[in-house]
Each structure stands twice: as C-alpha cells, then as structure tokens.
Amino acid sequence: MFTKPIHTKLLLGFLFIAALFLPLYVPDSYMFQIVITSLLFAIATSSMNLILGYTGQASLAHGAFFGVGAYVVAIMTKAGWSFWIALPVSGLVATGIGFFIGLFAFRTRGHFFAIVTLCFGVILFQVAENWIEVTGGQNGIFGLDSATPIPFPFFGPIEFSSQPAQYYLVLAVLLLTLFVLHRVVYSIFGLTFMAIRNNEELADALGINTFATKMVSFAIANFIAAIAGGIYATILGAVSPSAISIMITFNFLIFLILGGMATLPGAVIGAFMIPIIMEFLQFMENYRMLFFGALLVVVIIWFPMGFFGGLKTINQKIIAWRQSNTSEDSNA
C-alpha cells in the first residue's frame, strides 16, 4: 500500500551515511553546535508537523511544550534525578499539560484554535518567568550536568560531555522520531489525522471521533516536543525563559512553512537549513531578518507547501497527468 521507489531509498541511505560520518568533516566546534541544535529543532519541528501539517490544527503552544520539556529536565536533574528518568518524565508532563489544554482548545477550530493555544503558550511562559522558587525566574536554571553516562560492558560508560556523543544522541532521537512519525503517517490510523485536516465534517460522518483523534495527535506531538526540549536543556547546560518563549514556536513554524508542511522531510530540511543559512548571512547582520521576511512572503504566496512540498506537488501533478492520460486511453 505505502511503498517508496528505489531512488528515494538510495537517497535516504546516502543521507544516513553522510549523517553518521558528520563529526569527521564538520569544520569547527561552533558549526558543530549549530548542527546539533538544528537537529533538536528538527525533532521539535517534525512533531509540530504532526499536529499542524497532518492534522491541520495550528497549535501555537508547541514551543511552550518544548520549553516545558527543558524545564522539567533541568529541575529534575538539578534535584539529583538521572537524566534518563527526567527525559521521559518531561515528555509525560508535557503530554499531561497538553491534555488539559486540549480539553479547552479543541472546542474551537481554525484560527480560534491557534489563538487559544497561543494564549496557553504565553501563560506557560509567564509561569516560567514568575514562579521563581521552581524555575529560577528570569535567570533560569544553569550549571546542569550533561546527560548521565550510560554504563556499557567492555567499552566502559558512554559519556555525553563531548560534542560527537551529544550529536549521536540527538541523531538517534531524531531517527526514532521520524520512525514513529513514519509509522503513524503511513497507516490508516494516520489517514484519520489527514481526514480531519481535509474535511472534519465528513470525518465525523464516517465514524471518526474527531475530538479524540485530535487529542491523540496533540499528545504525540507534545511528547516529542518535550523530549527535544529536555535534550536541549542538558546540552546547553542551562535553561531560561527564552526556551519557552513564543519566539520558539514561531521559529518552528517558519522552519515548517519553508521546509514543507505535511511532509516528513520538509520539517527536517527546514529546521536544518534555515539556521545554517542564517549563519552564512551573518554579514548582513539584522538585515537578514528582512531577507527572511521577504522569503516567507514569497513561499507562502507561491509555494504554500514549502520547499519539499513544492517538489512533492510537482511529483503528484506528474502522477495525476499520467493517470488522466491513461484513463483517456482506456476510454477511447
């Protein structure tokens, strides 16, 4: 039912090998740091893609769930818990908060849903900034240890203080995320998400519990966002309210729009390419935002499906053109 052509598989294999050997050819540790954070953003953007791109629900609280993950990991590891316990807990906390928010937010649709989730995102930011005893207020929490080493027979413990180790940790989580999303998206279960995006009234009339389905999509997206945030905290060694601010959501949104909504590679391409392009545009200083503003306008008007979505649309047009040709032949 859902198979990929051979050239796609080859390309994916090549990218996988290139990613595996990246520490060998990355130019310097500054660039390496950007690659690592880009991968983390790719994880969070991919999960935003599930709720926004595939399910069609514009959750603007996504950055807040990323921040919740970062804070939970920071607070728990500071209190002496192992990072490997704190990380899944951060996912569960975000899912729990998301469940509560969803109960209210999914009573609304379209723009209203975006506004309601935006408000909840701002509330979470305010909590982070003002609940000083727990979150450290504007200073945040700093001096976090890197992830607890994993004991490993023969080779000794795997430490996560070096950049390559952090890189492989993040890469593994990204691949796991893409694996989960791939399984979900290419299934009848995932089709129900797209059904809601496409025509909610019809989905309802065909026996799909749209509220529950949206809640599940929201929960998966929030869990993954928090995991990305949790790793972000441990790699930076600190967390501050900027990690939970609305700017994080809008960064993810820009990555997703430019990379390509409702495509698995689009989210990764967007999250990976844009911070790197930003680095190359350093010489333009603040004018580079002007450049991105213009780029965003062009993409939204002429390529609403983003970079990868554009490629996919062209591909689908070719398929549709072939289909209409063959059907004309058979009618004749």
């Binding site: 039912m1 009848i188 065909l206 026996g207 799909i208 398929i319 059907s327």
Partner: protein, 254 residues
C-alpha cells in the same frame, strides 16, 4: 428499522421541521421529497446527529440515537452522504475508503507504532473491503487516483461507496444525482438499486428528480414547510391532491 417520532427542530423561532414522524422498514428504498427549503436536509441532519432535535425521538432497531454525536450514530449502522459531494480531496481514492472503514477496526497509536499482528489484520481487512467496494462501484482502476482526477459522476459514486464501505444497515443519500445528466442519473439509480439488492442495505434518499424517484422508491414521504403532508407508494403520491397542490403542480400528469 428506523423510526422517527414527532421530531421538531426550531432555529431561534423558525420551525425548520415540525412534528415529523415516519418509519423505514428493512430492505426498502424510501424517498423524501419536497420543494426547496421544505426541511429535507434538516431531517437528515436530525437523524444523523449533525443537528439535535428540539423535541422528538429517533430510534434504530429500537435503540435511541436522538442527539447522539454523528460519529457514534455511524457505529449504529446509519451512514450518510452529503448534498455537496463530500470526499477527502487531498487523499487518494483507496485512502478515502479505508478511512471510512476505520471505526470497524481497533487501529490505534500503539498497534500502528509497533506493527502488532492486530494492526496487520485490521489493515488488511480494511484494504480488502475497500477493494471489494471499488469493484462494486466499477472504480477498481482508479484506486490510486487523487480525487480531482475523477469525473463528476465518479466522485458521486465514490461518495456513496465511502458511505457503504463500513457495511451500514441504513444509507441516507442526500441528492446523489444533483448536477448529473440523464445517462449518469440512470447509472446512479442502478447503483442505488444494487446497493439494496446486493449489499442488503436499506436506503433513504432525498431527490428532486421526480421521474427517477417514482421508478426507484418503494415509499415516498413528502415534506412541505417542514411538515409531512403525505406518505405512501409512488402511485398514491402521484394522485394525492395535497402533493399536487403543494409541490408537483400538474407536472406529474404531463
């Protein structure tokens, strides 16, 4: 099978459907006719849960389904189509059908993520039933097509197929031949008959095309200004003076 008992719907003062009662017996094709704005579509929406009745009761096989959510009413065996052809136009033909079968399965996040044996079984069952329906519709060759590549008639056939893929007991069709020419209308009429005869699904249909309805329906319910003004066999309806007065004029005798 389906029983509608004194159902009334008011929209802030305006009475859209007033004290409507009728029954549909198993194996019948029942038509609801009436002029524009007579409350036909509203009646459908009240049965399928899209709207909640102000008063009255809807039961299917004795089970009360009044005011239930649409997605739950489907699981009681009542499927519907919409007046404007309604499909998932961003998805393929086969996807449209498989989505409609989903509630019959227990496909969820965990069995999908882990590809458990139950996932494989349900996924295959949904696929097999979808292919079966495609054959029934005569659209097998278009399984992987995207919706916009289908003709108007093919889209209407598919919309009906999407409604029957989960094997409902009762199918409600809201103007299934709207905007189609005579030949196409005849083919859809034939399809509706086959749905009753071969799939064993009871059909209730809203339609404007008198000639088609008179040839197809076993019973006809006539609505005017939200009220039932007549009910009976096509022959009875044709000669009913109220119906001729309110709606048909001299059309039928011509």
């Amino acid at each position: 099978m389906l029983k509608v008992e004194s159902v009334t719907k008011k929209f802030s003062g305006l009475v859209a459907v007033k004290d409507l009662s009728f029954e549909i017996a198993k194996g019948q094709i029942v038509a609801i006719i009436g002029p524009n704005g007579a409350g036909k579509s509203t009646a459908f929406n009240l049965i399928t849960g899209t709207l909640k009745p102000t008063w009255g009761k809807v039961t299917i096989n004795g089970h009360d389904i009044t005011g239930m959510q649409p997605y739950r009413i489907v699981t009681r065996g009542v499927a519907r189509t919409f007046q404007t052809t309604s499909l998932f136009d961003q998805l393929r033909v086969i996807d449209n059908l498989m989505i409609a079968y989903k509630w019959r399965t227990k496909l969820g996040f965990w069995n999908t993520l882990l590809h458990l044996p139950s996932w494989k079984r349900y996924q295959e069952r949904a696929f097999a039933r979808s292919i079966e329906v495609l054959e029934f519709l005569g659209l097998t060759a278009k399984a992987n097509n995207f919706i916009p590549t289908l003709s108007q008639e093919e889209q209407k056939r598919l919309a009906i197929g999407v409604a029957i893929v989960s094997k409902p007991q009762l199918l409600l069709l809201d103007e299934p031949t709207g905007g189609l020419i005579q030949d196409e209308t005849d083919r859809i009429t034939e399809l509706i008959r086959k749905i009753r005869d071969e799939q064993g699904i009871t059909v209730c249909i809203i339609e404007h095309k008198m000639q088609m309805i008179m040839g197809l329906a076993d019973r006809i319910v006539v609505l005017n200004y939200g009220e039932k003004i007549a009910e009976g066999s096509p022959e009875e309806i044709k000669v009913n003076p109220d119906v001729i007065e309110a709606y048909l004029g001299g059309e039928l005798n011509a």
